[in-house]
C-alpha cells in the first residue's frame, strides 16, 4: 500500500495561476472521509439552508436504504449515498464472524469535484463558469444563460439545470463564505469531520495518514479517490476516502475531462479542412490548365 500513500501525498496543480490569479490563496477544497460518515445528512441541509436552495419534489420514498435524495442536482449540492453490503468491514481474521457480523452500511457525502481540468469551465460559452482564486469552480448565476453545455460536459453528472429557473446550479464550495475566511456550510456542520475543508495539500497529507491507519486497522478496502493529478481530470478539488470501488458509490471509476481531446479533435478537423481546401484549390488550378 505504500505506493498509494506516496500517490496521496502528491500535490495537486495550483490551477489559479492558469486562470490569471498571479497572487492567490492556496488551492482550497474538500476531503470527504467516508469511513467516519454517519449518514446524518447535516451536509445536505446545511448546504440548502446556506444557499437557500429549494427542496426537491416529489416527497417520495425511494427504497434506497436511508437515501431519499437520489443524486446531486441543481437544488441538491451535497448528496449522501447509502450502500448496504454483505461484506465485513475488516479483512477476515478467522475469529467467528457470523450472520450480521458481515453486514456493513457504507455512507458517503458526494459533492462537485471542483476538477483541476474542469470540462464545464472549458465549454461554458458565456463565462458564467469561473475558476476562483481558491481554485474552485463556480457558476456565476448572474451570467449563466442556461445553455446547458456544461451539464453534458461534466464527467460526474454534477451540473444540472433547475427547470423552473432555467439556469444551471451546482456547489460553489461556498465561495461567498470563503471570501470571509469561513468554512463552507457542509464542512462546518459535519458532526464527525467526515467532510474536511482546507488547503488541498494539507488535506492530502491528512488523507494519506488516514488511509495508512485504516490499513493498519485491517480495513484494507480503504482507498482515496480523486486525489491523483495523473488521473483523467488531473485530480479533484474535492476528493474522497472510500471503502469500496468508486462505482459502488455511483462514482465513475476513471473520470475523463470530456474536453481533453478537443485540441486534438480541432487539429484533425483543421488538417482535414486544410486538406480539403488544398484539394479544392488544386482541382481549380488543374481545371484552368
Amino acid at each position: 500500500m505504500s505506493e498509494r500513500t506516496a500517490e496521496a501525498a502528491t500535490r495537486l496543480p495550483q490551477v489559479q495561476e492558469e486562470t490569471g490569479y498571479a497572487d492567490h490563496p492556496p488551492r482550497m477544497g474538500f476531503f470527504t472521509d467516508t469511513s467516519v460518515c454517519i449518514g446524518c445528512k447535516a451536509c445536505e441541509v446545511a448546504c440548502k439552508e446556506w444557499n437557500q436552495l429549494p427542496a426537491d419534489d416529489p416527497l417520495e420514498f425511494t427504497g434506497m436504504s436511508f437515501d431519499n435524495t437520489g443524486q446531486l442536482s441543481a437544488s441538491t449540492w451535497r448528496h449522501v449515498a447509502f450502500i448496504e453490503q454483505r461484506k465485513p468491514m475488516r479483512a477476515p481474521t478467522g475469529a467467528g464472524d457470523d450472520g450480521a457480523g458481515d453486514l456493513r452500511l457504507l455512507m458517503a457525502s458526494d459533492v462537485c469535484k471542483h476538477c483541476t481540468d474542469a470540462a464545464c469551465l472549458d465549454v461554458c460559452p458565456t463565462g458564467s463558469l469561473l475558476r476562483t482564486e481558491f481554485g474552485t469552480v463556480v457558476v456565476q448565476e448572474d451570467v449563466c444563460n442556461g445553455c446547458g453545455y456544461c451539464v453534458s460536459a461534466c464527467p460526474y453528472g454534477v451540473l444540472d439545470k433547475r427547470e423552473r429557473d432555467g439556469r444551471v446550479w451546482k456547489c460553489t464550495l461556498c465561495y461567498d463564505r470563503l471570501v470571509d475566511d469561513l468554512t463552507p456550510a457542509c464542512a462546518k456542520a459535519c458532526p464527525t469531520e467526515s467532510i474536511q475543508y482546507g488547503p488541498l495539500d494539507e488535506l492530502l497529507e491528512r488523507a494519506a495518514a488516514r488511509v495508512r491507519d485504516l490499513h493498519e486497522d485491517g480495513v484494507t478496502d480503504a482507498r482515496l479517490y480523486g486525489h491523483d493529478p495523473a488521473d483523467g481530470v488531473r485530480g479533484n478539488g474535492a476528493f474522497f476516502l472510500l471503502l469500496d470501488r468508486p462505482e459502488v458509490y455511483g462514482l465513475p471509476p476513471a473520470p475523463m475531462d470530456t474536453t481533453r481531446d478537443l485540441p486534438s479533435i480541432w487539429r484533425h478537423a483543421a488538417a482535414a479542412a486544410l486538406t480539403l481546401a488544398a484539394g479544392v484549390a488544386a482541382a481549380f488550378a488543374l481545371e484552368r490548365r
Binding site: 489559479q16 492558469e18 486562470t19 490569471g20 490569479y21 498571479a22 492567490h24 467516519v36 454517519i38 449518514g39 446524518c40 445528512k41 447535516a42 445536505e44 441541509v45 446545511a46 439552508e49 437557500q52 427542496a55 426537491d56 416527497l59 417520495e60 420514498f61 425511494t62 427504497g63 436504504s65 436511508f66 431519499n68 435524495t69 448496504e84 454483505r86 475469529a95 467467528g96 457470523d98 450472520g99 450480521a100 457480523g101 453486514l103 452500511l105 455512507m107 469551465l121 472549458d122 463565462g127 463558469l129 469561473l130 475558476r131 476562483t132 482564486e133 456565476q140 465561495y175 461567498d176 463564505r177 471570501v179 470571509d180 475566511d181 469561513l182 462546518k188 456542520a189 458532526p191 464527525t192
Partner: protein, 1128 residues
C-alpha cells in the same frame, strides 16, 4: 421566507484592484454584549495582474468588458480573472454582513449544541453551530442545520385560532380575548371539580384540569407551569420525560443517588470501550456521537446492541442483534460472567458498593419463589418491600428520624431519587470477605447464576460466540487502567421493566468499577432540548422541583412527617427539610411562615398515580375536563394514539401551544376517528384554543442538556403576530386567574393567591423576565443575596430556592448558565461553559475515580484525587464530595447527615454512601433486575414459567387498550420503534420543514428479506401492520439490517418502525403509536413502546370504516377480550 439570498456589502469588496494585501474587517458591527466576539473576518485582496484601473473613463469602461480583459490580461482562456462578474467580485455571505450575532442553543435533542443566530435588519438570517461550544464544537446535525427554516419558515402559525364546541372550522380570535376565555375556563373548571377531601383525607386539589408538555421548553417556563398548576391544585402535570426517560430517574437514582447521566458527552472520548445499547446514538444524537467517533479514532472498541443494524451500527466494531425486550437477560448474563469468572474490580466493589452488606433474613429471591420476590401480593399486584431491607438494628435516631419503608413506597415515588437516595437501615451488618450467604455479593451471584450464554441465545437470539466477544471486550476494557462506558436511550427506558434495564447496567458498571471515572459511566441520552430540565424542575405529577416528591394524602399530613418519610439519615439528602422549606418560601413568599408550616398545607396531595396515561383514563371517564398542551403531541407521540385522541374528544376545553398545527390540535377535524366514522366533528364538544408559540430564537432562558448542563439562550428577535413564549402565556394566565380570584375568602383559593407572582415585565409584549425566574430558582438568602449553592439553604425560612439542585446557577449574582468561555481556552472538561447541576460537577460520584486512599486508580485514569498537603480533593473536575473530607475519615456511629459520610462514600446522596448492586428500597418491582418478557411477546419466559411478564406491571384494562394473548400466532412478529436522524419525536418540529421532509418523505417499515418472503412483501411497496389497538400502513424497506433471530431453532422476525409520522405537515404517514398499548413500568409509569407484537400484510390499509373492521377481524381471530393478557 424573509431572507435575502446574498447580502452584499458596498464598500468592502474582496476583489479590489490594488497591491497584494490582506485586510482585517474589524468594523462589522457585531453586537449582543461584550462576551460575543465577531468571527475573525479576513479578506484577501487579489493583486492586480492586468494593470488597469488607474485611468477611468472609456478605458475603465472598456476594461470591464470580459473580452477585453481576456485579450489583454493573463487569463487568455477566459476561465478565471477575465470572466468575473461585478456580482462575483462583491459577493459576501450574510453571516459576515449580519448586524449582530446572538448566542443560542439548538432546540431539538438534548445534546445541547451551541448555535450562533445571525440577525440583519431585525430578522434572523442564518443559524449556525457555535465553534466555541465544548459539546458540539460548531457542528450541527440536519435538524440543527434546519433551525433557520424552523424559526423563520412559513409552517409556523402566526395568530390565535379558536374552535368553538361542535364547530367544524377554526375561527380567528383576539389574543387578549383568548387569554381571558382560558382564564375563565380554568377558574370555572377548577371550582366545579375541586376536591377538598378524598377517601377521608385532605387532598386540596382538582382532577378536572391537566397540563402536558415541557421538555421542549425552557427551565424557567417549566418552573412557572409547575408553580401555577400547583397553586391551582392541579396535580395532573406531565411532560415528555414521563414517556421518554422517567425510568432513567428511577433506575439511576436508586442505584447511585441521582437520576441523571453519570457522565457527560465529551468524556466518552476517554473510553476504551463504549457499549451502545437501547440507543440509536448516531441517528438520534449525531453531534454527540462525535465523541464516540473520537474514542474510536483513539482505539476504543465500539459495540452496538440493537434489534436493527442502523447508522449507529455502521460505525461500530461489533454489531449484536437482539430481540427487542430482552436486554436484562443479555446484561444479566454479562453480570453472571463477571461474577463467576471473578472479573469484578474487587477493591472498587468492596469499598464503593453495597456488595458486602447483609440483607434481611426474610428476603426471598425470584430464584426461590419462581419469579417473584418476597412480599408479593397477587391481589394488589404489588410488593410489600420491607423484607428487601438491609439487616441491622432498628435504631430510633435522636432526631426522631426513623425508617418508614412501608409508608415511603407510594406510587411514583421512585422518581424522587433523581437527587436523593431511598432511606435505608443505619449501620447495617456487613461481611468484607463477601462470603456470607446473605451478603449482597452472594445474593447477586445466586440471582444471576442461570443467566448463561445458552439463556442469552434462547432468549435474545444472540449466538454464544458473539456474546463471548462482548464479554471479553467489556471486561478487558475495565479495571484500574481502562474504562468502559454504556450509552442508552429510550430503547431501554420504554419497557414494563425499563427501570430494571437501567438497574442491570448500573450493577454491571459498578461491579466493573466504571462509575465516577473518566471514560466510564452510564450515559443516558436524552432526546429533547430540556427534558433533563423538565425532570429537574419537573412538570411531572409526582415531583416538586429538585426531585422532592409530591406529598401523599395518606402519609404526608404535615411537614414533619413528610420530611421524615422522604429523607435519608446520612448524606446530603438528610437535609431534605432545608430544600423543602426553601421551595415553599420561593412559592409562597411572605405567606410561608414557621407557624403555618411554610404553607405546606397549600400543596395538593396525591392519592395514587396521576401519570399522563392515568389522565387519559380520567378524560375518558369524564373526570378530567380541561387540558393544556405545551409543545407536546400525544395524538402521535404517546402510546395508543387513538385513546389519546378519544380522551381529548371528551374534554370540555383544550389549549394547544405549538409552532404549527400539530395533530393534537386538529384531531377534531381530520383525525383518524373522523375518517373512520367513529367520531363526528359535529358531535365533539371540545372547545379548542390554539396559541402560536415563540421559537427558541424569540425568547431567553435555559435548556438543561443530557449532561445535566444548563445553557442560557439569548432572544435574538421579538416574536411576531400572536406568537408568545410559554413564559408569557403562563405568567399572564396566572395573573388573570389571580385577578379573577382576588378578594376570594374561599380557603381553596388561598394557595393560588398566596403564590409569589410578580415578575418584572419587559418590552411592549410585556414578556416576563426569564432572568428573574432563574434567580428565583437559584434562591435568595437573607437580605436578598443570591445563594451560591445548596449547602447554604436552611429549613427555618431564612432562605428561598425554587429548585435546590439548581442553587448556584446564579452564584455571585452571575448567570452561570450563560457562561461561554470557548473550549479552546480551557480544559477539556470546560467547567466555564454553562453550569451543570449539582454544583457544576460534570462527572458524578467522581470521588470513585480515586482509590480508597485518595490516589488515582492509575495515571491514565486520573480525574479527581486527594491532595494531602492542601487537605482537599482536587483534579480535573469539581470534586463530587465533601471538599475537605480525608479518605481515611470514618464517622462515629452517632453521626448523621453529611457528617456521617465516610472518606470512602462516593455516592453522597445515598443513604449508605454506596452504589447499590442490590436496591433495598426505592423500587416497586424488585431489589434486583429479573428477565421478564414484554406484555406482548411471542415467547415464553425460559426462567420463570409462572410469571412471564413483570408481575407488578401497571395494566390498563379498557376496550380501547386491548393486549395480545402471550405467544399468539395472529400477531407473530416483534415490533420495535425508533428515531431517524432526519426527524424529531412526534414530528412537530420536523415534518413541516421542507429540508427535513424531503430527506425522509414517507413512513416506512423495515423487514428482513426472509419476512418479506414469508408475507409476500415487496420492496418499495406497501404493507399494513396490525395489532389489537390499530392498523397502520407503511412503505416497505426490505433490508438485511433487521436480521431474523434464531433462538434454539425457532426463528423470530422483527419489524422496525420509525415513530415520527402523523397525518399533518409536509410529509405525512401513519403514526406507529396507533399500534402500541398502554402498559407501564410500576416505578416510573413509562409505557412499553419499544417492544410489542404485530402481524404484517402486503398492501395498503382500508380507508374509512373498513379500518376498524380489519382490526376487529384480527382481534376476533386471536380471541381477544378485555381480560386478555392480564395474567400476573
Amino acid at each position: 421566507m424573509a431572507v435575502t439570498r446574498y447580502a452584499r456589502r458596498e464598500h468592502a469588496t474582496p476583489f479590489r484592484r490594488g497591491g497584494p494585501e490582506t485586510a482585517k474587517i474589524g468594523s462589522v458591527p457585531f453586537g449582543g454584549g461584550s462576551a460575543l466576539r465577531p468571527p475573525a473576518v479576513t479578506v484577501r485582496i487579489r493583486p492586480v495582474a492586468e494593470g488597469g484601473g488607474e485611468i477611468m473613463g472609456l478605458r475603465g469602461l472598456l476594461g470591464r468588458w470580459p473580452v477585453v480583459r481576456q485579450l489583454t490580461g493573463p487569463d487568455r482562456h477566459g476561465l478565471g480573472v477575465a470572466v468575473r462578474s461585478p456580482r462575483t467580485d462583491t459577493l459576501r455571505g450574510r453571516v459576515a454582513t449580519a448586524d449582530r450575532v446572538v448566542k443560542s442553543i439548538c432546540p431539538y435533542c438534548a445534546v445541547g449544541c451551541g448555535q450562533n443566530v445571525y440577525v440583519s435588519g431585525g430578522e434572523v438570517v442564518q443559524i449556525e453551530g457555535d465553534p466555541d461550544s465544548p459539546i458540539s464544537r460548531g457542528r450541527l446535525c440536519p435538524k440543527g442545520s434546519a433551525t433557520l427554516q424552523l424559526t423563520t419558515g412559513d409552517a409556523r402559525e402566526r395568530m390565535v385560532l379558536y374552535r368553538r364546541p361542535y364547530g367544524t372550522e377554526w375561527e380567528p380570535l383576539e389574543l387578549e380575548t383568548a387569554m381571558e376565555m382560558v382564564a375563565e375556563r380554568v377558574v370555572r373548571t377548577r371550582r366545579a371539580t375541586w376536591q377538598e377531601h378524598h377517601q377521608g383525607k385532605r387532598v386540596a386539589r382538582t382532577l378536572g384540569i391537566a397540563s402536558l408538555g415541557g421538555a421542549t421548553l425552557d427551565n424557567e417556563e417549566n418552573y412557572l407551569i409547575k408553580k401555577l398548576m400547583t397553586g391551582l391544585g392541579v396535580v395532573q402535570v406531565e411532560n415528555q420525560a414521563r414517556v421518554c426517560h422517567s425510568s432513567t430517574v428511577t433506575g439511576l437514582g436508586t442505584s447511585f443517588g441521582r437520576g441523571g447521566s453519570t457522565t457527560f458527552l465529551q468524556d466518552l472520548q476517554h473510553s476504551d470501550c463504549i457499549v451502545i445499547e437501547g440507543s440509536n446514538f448516531a441517528e438520534a444524537h449525531p453531534v454527540g456521537y462525535q465523541w464516540v467517533v473520537e474514542a474510536k479514532l483513539r482505539g476504543a472498541t465500539i459495540i452496538h446492541v440493537d434489534p436493527r443494524f442502523s447508522r449507529t451500527s455502521a460505525m461500530a466494531d461489533l454489531y449484536v442483534p437482539i430481540r427487542a425486550g430482552t436486554d436484562i437477560a443479555f446484561l444479566g448474563a454479562i453480570v453472571n460472567h463477571v461474577l463467576s469468572e471473578g472479573k469484578d474490580f474487587r477493591e472498587y466493589v468492596l469499598n464503593y458498593t453495597n456488595a458486602a452488606t447483609i440483607v434481611n433474613d426474610d428476603y426471598k429471591d425470584t430464584e426461590d419463589l419462581d419469579g417473584v420476590f418476597s412480599g408479593f401480593d397477587p391481589e394488589t399486584r404489588g410488593y410489600d418491600v420491607t423484607t428487601w431491607h438491609y439487616k441491622g438494628p432498628e435504631v430510633q435516631a435522636a432526631s426522631g428520624h426513623r425508617i418508614r419503608i412501608g409508608e415511603y413506597h407510594t406510587p411514583g415515588r421512585g422518581e424522587s431519587h433523581g437527587s436523593g437516595g431511598a432511606p435505608v437501615t443505619r449501620l447495617p451488618e456487613s461481611d468484607p470477605t463477601l462470603t456470607h450467604p446473605r451478603c449482597v455479593y452472594q445474593i447477586l451471584k445466586r440471582h444471576f447464576a442461570r443467566y448463561t450464554p445458552a439463556l442469552v441465545e434462547e432468549t435474545c437470539g444472540i449466538p454464544p460466540e458473539l456474546f463471548a466477544r462482548v464479554c471479553d471486550a467489556v471486561t478487558s476494557n475495565s479495571g484500574r487502567d481502562r474504562t468502559t462506558a454504556f450509552a442508552y436511550a429510550v430503547g431501554w427506558t420504554q419497557h414494563t421493566v425499563g427501570t430494571q434495564y437501567i438497574r442491570t447496567a448500573s450493577i454491571l458498571q459498578s461491579l466493573l468499577g466504571n462509575i465516577g471515572r473518566p471514560g466510564g459511566g452510564i450515559m443516558a441520552l436524552r432526546g429533547h432540548a430540556s427534558i433533563q430540565g423538565s425532570s429537574d424542575i419537573p412538570t411531572l405529577y409526582n415531583l416538586l422541583p429538585g426531585y422532592i416528591p409530591m406529598p401523599f394524602a395518606h402519609t404526608d399530613e404535615n411537614l414533619d412527617t413528610f420530611v421524615d418519610v422522604v429523607s435519608t439519615h446520612k448524606g446530603f439528602w438528610a437535609d431534605a427539610r432545608h430544600y423543602v422549606v426553601s421551595l415553599l418560601k420561593a412559592y409562597y413568599g411572605g405567606a410561608a411562615t414557621p407557624d403555618n408550616e411554610f404553607c405546606f398545607g397549600h400543596l395538593p396531595r396525591l392519592t395514587g398515580t396521576h401519570s399522563t396515561y392515568d389522565t387519559v383514563m380520567a378524560q375518558l371517564a369524564g373526570e378530567c375536563k380541561g387540558m393544556f398542551l405545551f409543545g407536546e403531541n400525544p395524538a402521535v407521540g404517546h402510546a395508543n394514539a387513538a385513546l389519546q385522541r378519544k380522551g381529548m374528544a371528551n374534554l370540555e376545553w383544550l389549549v394547544v401551544r405549538d409552532l404549527s398545527l400539530i395533530e393534537s390540535a386538529t384531531w377534531w377535524k381530520d383525525g383518524r376517528e373522523i375518517r373512520t366514522g367513529e367520531m363526528r366533528t359535529a358531535d365533539i364538544g371540545t372547545e379548542v384554543f390554539f396559541f402560536p408559540a415563540a421559537s427558541h430564537t424569540e425568547k431567553s432562558g435555559t435548556f438543561t442538556n443530557t449532561n445535566r448542563l444548563l445553557q442560557w439562550h439569548h432572544a435574538a428577535v421579538e416574536p411576531a403576530g400572536d406568537r408568545r413564549s410559554d413564559l408569557w402565556f403562563v405568567y399572564h394566565l396566572g395573573r388573570k386567574i389571580r385577578e379573577r380570584l382576588a378578594g376570594s375568602t374561599d380557603p381553596a383559593d388561598r394557595p393560588i393567591l398566596d403564590l409569589t407572582w410578580d415578575y418584572p415585565e419587559e418590552g411592549e409584549l410585556r414578556e416576563p423576565s426569564a432572568d428573574a425566574v432563574l434567580r428565583e430558582v437559584n434562591g435568595y438568602g437573607p437580605g436578598g443575596r443570591l445563594l451560591g449553592g445548596y449547602t447554604e439553604l436552611r429549613g427555618d425560612g431564612s432562605t428561598s430556592c425554587g429548585c435546590w439542585i439548581y442553587c448556584g446557577v446564579f452564584a455571585d449574582g452571575v448567570n452561570q448558565a450563560a457562561r461561554r468561555r470557548p473550549h479552546t481556552e480551557q480544559s477539556w472538561v470546560s467547567p466555564e461553559w454553562g453550569w451543570a447541576w449539582p454544583m457544576n460537577r460534570r462527572t458524578l460520584y467522581n470521588r470513585a475515580s480515586a482509590d480508597p486512599d485518595g490516589r488515582p486508580w492509575s495515571e491514565r485514569k486520573a480525574y479527581v484525587w486527594w491532595d494531602a498537603e492542601q487537605g482537599r480533593w482536587t483534579g480535573h473536575d469539581i470534586p463530587d464530595f465533601v471538599d475537605d473530607r480525608p479518605p481515611d475519615y470514618r464517622p462515629p456511629d452517632d453521626a448523621s447527615g453529611v457528617d456521617a459520610l465516610s472518606g470512602i462514600d462516593p455516592f453522597i446522596m445515598q443513604g449508605d454512601g454506596k452504589a447499590w448492586l442490590f436496591a433495598p428500597a426505592g423500587l416497586m418491582d424488585g431489589p434486583l433486575p429479573t428477565h421478564y418478557e414484554p406484555q406482548d411477546t411471542p415467547c415464553e419466559n425460559p426462567l420463570y414459567r409462572a410469571h412471564r411478564s413483570n408481575p407488578a406491571r401497571l395494566l390498563y384494562s379498557h376496550p380501547g387498550n386491548l393486549y395480545h394473548p402471550p405467544g399468539n400466532e395472529v400477531y407473530p412478529y416483534v415490533v420495535t420503534t425508533y428515531r431517524l436522524t432526519e426527524h424529531f419525536t412526534a414530528g412537530g418540529m420536523s415534518r413541516w420543514l421542507p429540508y427535513l421532509a424531503e430527506l425522509q418523505p414517507e413512513m416506512f417499515c423495515e423487514v428482513s428479506p426472509q419476512l418479506a418472503d414469508e408475507r409476500l412483501l415487496e420492496h418499495g411497496g406497501w404493507a399494513t401492520i396490525v395489532t389489537a389497538r390499530g392498523a397502520i400502513e407503511a412503505r416497505v424497506m426490505v433490508t438485511d439490517r433487521v436480521p431474523p433471530l434464531r433462538m434454539n431453532g425457532r426463528v423470530i422476525h422483527q419489524i422496525g418502525l420509525p415513530y415520527h409520522w402523523g397525518p399533518n405537515g409536509l410529509t405525512i404517514g401513519d403514526p406507529a403509536n396507533e399500534l402500541t398499548s398502554i402498559v407501564l413500568d410500576p416505578n416510573a409509569d413509562i409505557q412499553e413502546s419499544k417492544a410489542t407484537t404485530a402481524d404484517i400484510q402486503p398492501g395498503r390499509r382500508p380507508r374509512g370504516p373498513g379500518l376498524v373492521r380489519l382490526v376487529e377481524t384480527f382481534r376476533r381471530r386471536a380471541g381477544i377480550g378485555e381480560r386478555t393478557g392480564l395474567e400476573v
